[in-house]
Every structure is written in C-alpha cells, then in structure tokens.
C-alpha cells in the first residue's frame, strides 16, 4: 500500500466522525434555523422568522443574561482555583503523585449525571453542607430555592471540575526556567513578586488557552442545571442549552431551537475573537519582542 493511502486510512475514522457527528449536524442545524420544523412533519422554509422572534423572546433574553452571568462567574473562578492548586502541587511535597491524581479525579467524574445527583443531595435543604453549617452553629442556607444561591451552586459544580485546567497549568509552571527565580531572589524579590512578575507573564499562553477552552465549555453547560435545579428557581439557572433542549424536544420547535443554537455559537465566536484580539496585549510568547 502506498503511503498516502496508509495516511488516509489512519485519518479515516477521525474524518468520518467529524463528518457524521459534527459537520453534517452543524450545517443541518444552520438550515433548520431558517425553517419551521416540528420534528414530525417536514421542515418548512421560514426565512429569518426564527431570528426575528428571538429578538422579542423574553425567555431567550433572560436565559442569555443568566448564561453570560454563569460564564463570567464560572470561568475566572475555575481558572483562579486551577492555577492556585497547580501552584501548590508544583512544590515538592511528600506523596505529590497522589495529590495530583486526587485533584484531577473530579474532572473525570464532574460532568456525569451521578455527580450532578450527588451535588443535589449535598446542597439540598437537609444536605451535607447545611448539616455542617448548622453543626457550626450557623443558619442553613437555601441553596436551590434562592435564585442567586442556585446559580452560584451550579457554578461551584463546574469550578470543582478544575482538574484538566490544573494539569495544563502544572505543565506550564514546570516549564518556567528556575534560573529566573534565582536571579529575582538575588535582586530581593519575594515569592509573591516572583509569581506576579515572572510566573504569570510566562504562563500567559496557557492561561489564554485555558480561558478559551473553559469559556466554550461553560457556554455549553447542560447536565448540572438540568439535573440539580431543572433551570429554576425563577429560571435563574435556565442556561441557553436548557432552553434549546426544551424548545427542541418539549415544544417541538426544532427550527427555533436551531436558531438559538446558532446565536449561541455566534456569541461564543465573537467572545473568542475578542479574547484573541485582547491576547495581543497580555499574552507573551517565547521570543516576543515586546518590552
């Protein structure tokens, strides 16, 4: 067999997967967003109707607000926490391998239904968290019944899944040249100064990478709010993916749901472009000529 064919054979599973599970549904949903499609009957072309309706849809606007709030709370919180743990795990501690594994485990489990159910029990009225609070003589908190607390609780679940971002941070931290710290120490820099002026600038490419990845994932959050709060109370955790799901599979508006999905895609794309644009000002790569 000639080498191009071998290469193609190796690529085929990925290409088929990309085509069947990503490209075709992607383009299919674009087409459906311009149709009135109730899943049972064939789609009927409706032009821009779905997008016009979106502009006057109060549920969409509320869901969009909640989604943006969720992303702006969750992503910085998760990145900060992941970096904090990575810095700790970068020290030479006893049983460091165990700790690194232990902190990574929630990322493997975190998105699962079982963990969402567990979260629901932990933060329920008579759950573990309130038991601890009352044990300490504090008032129990209504985590799911209060709109502000509910969104925060859902955000915590995603923050708890910081492992993958942490591993990437850890790799970046280990790549920082130690001689820079030694030179800074000679010049009188303390740990905090070294972290702010050496570590942070040198790992900005990784911070940028994690920022993009976590933002995209946060915009797609579904399991947590669906299982834990059902989008309530008062739609305070009703993220756009839940609205897409309800419109598509409860209200049979697949065309409208596709339109929402595309608006969500465009928002993610715009924010990603903004992030790339801003990266010129704060991300430093090796060989960068900026002073």
């Amino acid at each position: 067999m000639e080498s191009p064919r071998i290469g193609l054979a190796y690529l085929a599973p990925y290409l088929i997967g990309l085509l069947v599970f990503t490209a075709i549904p992607f383009l299919g949903s674009l087409y459906l967003s311009f149709t009135d499609y109730n899943l049972i009957q064939s789609p009927v072309w409706s032009g821009m109707d779905n997008f016009r309706e979106l502009m006057n849809d109060r549920t969409f606007m509320r869901s969009l607000r909640v989604t943006l709030l969720y992303v702006f709370i969750t992503v910085p919180l998760k990145l900060a926490f992941a970096l904090f743990i990575a810095v700790i795990l970068n020290y030479r501690l006893r049983a460091i391998g165990f700790f690194r594994t232990a902190y990574y485990v929630p990322s493997i489990l975190g998105g699962s239904i079982a963990i969402a159910v567990l979260w629901r029990y932990i933060f329920a009225d008579a759950g573990l968290v309130n038991m601890v609070l009352t044990g300490m003589g504090l008032e129990p908190v209504n985590w799911f019944g209060d709109p502000v607390n509910a969104l925060f609780t859902i955000s915590l679940l995603r923050t708890w899944q910081f492992g993958s971002a942490m591993v990437i941070f850890l790799a970046a931290l280990q790549a920082v040249d130690k001689s820079l710290y030694e030179a800074a120490a000679i010049d009188g820099a303390n740990k905090w100064h070294s972290f702010v002026h050496i570590t942070l600038p040198l790992i900005t490419p990784v911070i940028f990478f994690n920022l993009i990845m976590q933002m995209v994932q946060a915009f797609q959050e579904f399991n947590g709010p669906y299982i834990i709060t059902g989008g309530g109370p008062l739609k305070s955790t009703y993220l756009l993916p839940l609205y897409i799901y309800d419109e598509a599979f409860k209200n049979f508006n697949m065309g409208y749901a596709s339109a929402i999905a595309w608006v969500l895609f465009l928002i993610i794309m715009v924010l990603t472009v903004v992030a790339f644009w801003s990266s010129k000002k704060w991300v430093y790569y090796a060989g960068d000529k900026r002073s």
Partner: protein
Amino acid sequence: MRLLTTTILAGLMATTAQAADLRMSWWGGDARHAQTQEALQVCGTKHGHQVAAEFTGWAGHQERITTQIAGRTEADIMQINWPWLPLFSRDGTGFADLREFSDIIDLSQWTEEQLAGGEMNGVLNGLPVAETGRVYFFNKTVFDAAGLPLPTNWDEVRAATGQLGEGVLPFEAQGLNAIFLVSTTVTQMTGKDLIDAQTTTVAWTPEELAEGIRFYLSLVEDGAIRSWQQVAGEGNIELFEMRPWADGRIAGTYEWDSAYAKYADPLGDQELVPVPILQVDSAVNDGTYRKPSMLLAISARSENPQAAAQIIDCLMNDPEAVDILGDSRGLPASRAASERLAAEGGIDPNVAAAHDLVLAGNGPVPSPLNEHPKVREIFGDYLEAAAYGQIEPEDAALEMIDEMNRAIRSFR
C-alpha cells in the same frame, strides 16, 4: 399442562405473526417497572417474541420519545400520555391504526367512548390503559397519631396545620401539583375548564384565575403547605423521592389515582389513603380533572406490528398478564382485565377507592391542551413568580392568559 397450552398457543399465533424481536417503552415507578417486565416475559413466551424493555421515570420521557420518533428509532410498543396524541399524530398517521389489528386485539373489551379517547382524526392510535384523574391523598397514619380525622375540606386542612406534630405539614403542592391545585380551584369556582373547546382560547377571566392563585398563596401563608422556595431547596426532585414525604413530615398531596403506589411505597408501614375531593367554599362543582390515562400505541414504522399487537392484547386482556400487572397503571380500562382483577382481589383497596372517587367526581371535560407543554410552562412560570412575590396574582393572571392564548392559537 400449562407448558402444553403455551406451546399450542404459540403455534397458533405463529400463523399470524412470526417470532419477532420487539421493544416496548414506558415511564413509571419501580413497582410498574418490575411488574411490566415480568408481564412482558410471560407475553413474549406465549407468543414466541422477545420484548426488550425500555423504561424510565416520568421526567424526560416525553423528550426521549420525541427524539426517538424524530430519529425513527422509537420502540415498537410505546406507552403514550394522552395529551401527546395531538403533538405526535395530529392527523392520525403518527402511530399505527390499531383497528387494523382488531383480529388480534380484542377491542370489544373497551367501550366506543373509551376507544374514542385514543383516536386522532378518526384513527385509533392508542388503546387506553386506564382512565385517571387527580385525587387528594393523605397519610392516615400521621393524622391518626395526632388524633385528627382525615380532612374533608380546606378549612380542616388549615386547621390541621400545627396539630400534626412538630414540623409536620398537612399538605404539599409545588410545581405541577400547584398548577393542578390552582386549576382545580378555579374550575370548582367557575365550572369551566381552563380551555374553551369551542373557541380554543382560555375560558377563565383574569379575575377568576387570580382568585385561584390567591387561594394557593393563602395555603402557604397559613403554613398548610411549604413555600415554593422551601420546596425548591430540595433540588429538582419529585415529592415521593423527598425525605419529608417518606418520613411522614408532609402528610398530603394531590396526585393521579394511578400514581398511588409511587407515593405509598416510600411510606413503608404508614398508610396513604384517598379522600373525596376538597372543595373551596364557592364551588359550583367538584372540578374533577379526569382524562384517559396512558395509552399503548404501536409505532407507525414498526416492522412487526402484528407481533406488537399480540403483546398489547396480552398485556391488556390476558388473565396471567393482568394478574401480574395488577393496578400498576391504575384500574385497567379493559373490561376483561378489570373484572379479572376485581374477582381475584388483585386491586389495592386504596387504588380502587381513589379510582371510584375520580369516577364519582364531576366537572367539565378537560381539553388535552391543558397539558400542552407551552401552556404548562406559562402556567408554572407565572405561578412561581407569584409564589416568589415577584408579580401580583392579578398581573400574573393577565399575562398568563395572554401568553396561553398565543401558545394555543395554532390549534384553532
């Protein structure tokens, strides 16, 4: 002898349907899951078919069915909720026409009126498993322990507040149950269903609906039921899964008669009983919400519709299957099944009593649009907002009616 009979029967049936691999989907609680699987085993053996069971809880089942139908991967036999018929089969072609299998399914066990409930556009899409309705259930053990009689009206429910023990509430209504509570209250006061079948518009005035919302809020204020906020604090779970229900710290609910086992099972030794419908003072009728219960339907795309029909007939009419299924889906609509269960004593007396209450109650015939997903969502959203004090009942009612009318416009 039984083996011989089974063999002969299987041989006879083989003349109308080849041995087939089938799938059946349904929703329900643990008891229904176990009994249905056992009955499918029996019916599959009798007719020489393998029937794979696909079962879930109520939550998310409609979405699952929708996805399957859209993807053309639905099960051969499906348990369908009555209000889903116009959604999945507006012109009657969404499911197989069961009259085409009248030589296999003994349709004479249902009245024409019952069968009409499973028809869309004159096509028999679903066979009614049972007729169901909303019933008030109370934990008799809790009331007995407090030396109180079971409530017969709302004043007695309010009076029981604080008398049942520390932290014990006489009733619970949140989410869907709160919607039904408000709905029943307004129907009792006005004699009208939510939807006017003639005009396909909301039949209630904003004042009437606001009165119903205020009634619900007054129960919360009086401490007879937990606030929406408190119940939401448990997370997204149903009442029968909640610890306060299992512990007897919540002593009443308003549920489908067919859901009796789901709510009684977690109570263990405590006894859950139905009571006659609780009326508001100005009631002009009982406001009973009664409808055809779940239906069994055959996929329009099933490759083995005859085999599926054999399984449906067996589940609904065969004495052995009827004995196994018992009242797991409420009292069967099939005459053969209900007579068999009555004769064998296979019906839980509380299920029978609940069903009698449903049949005895009066009220307008509800439109399936009461349970249209969008109508439900609008009702629930505004009721929740009123419960959180974010909107006055009058404004909630106005907005609700306006949005519901827009949601059901396409059905006119």
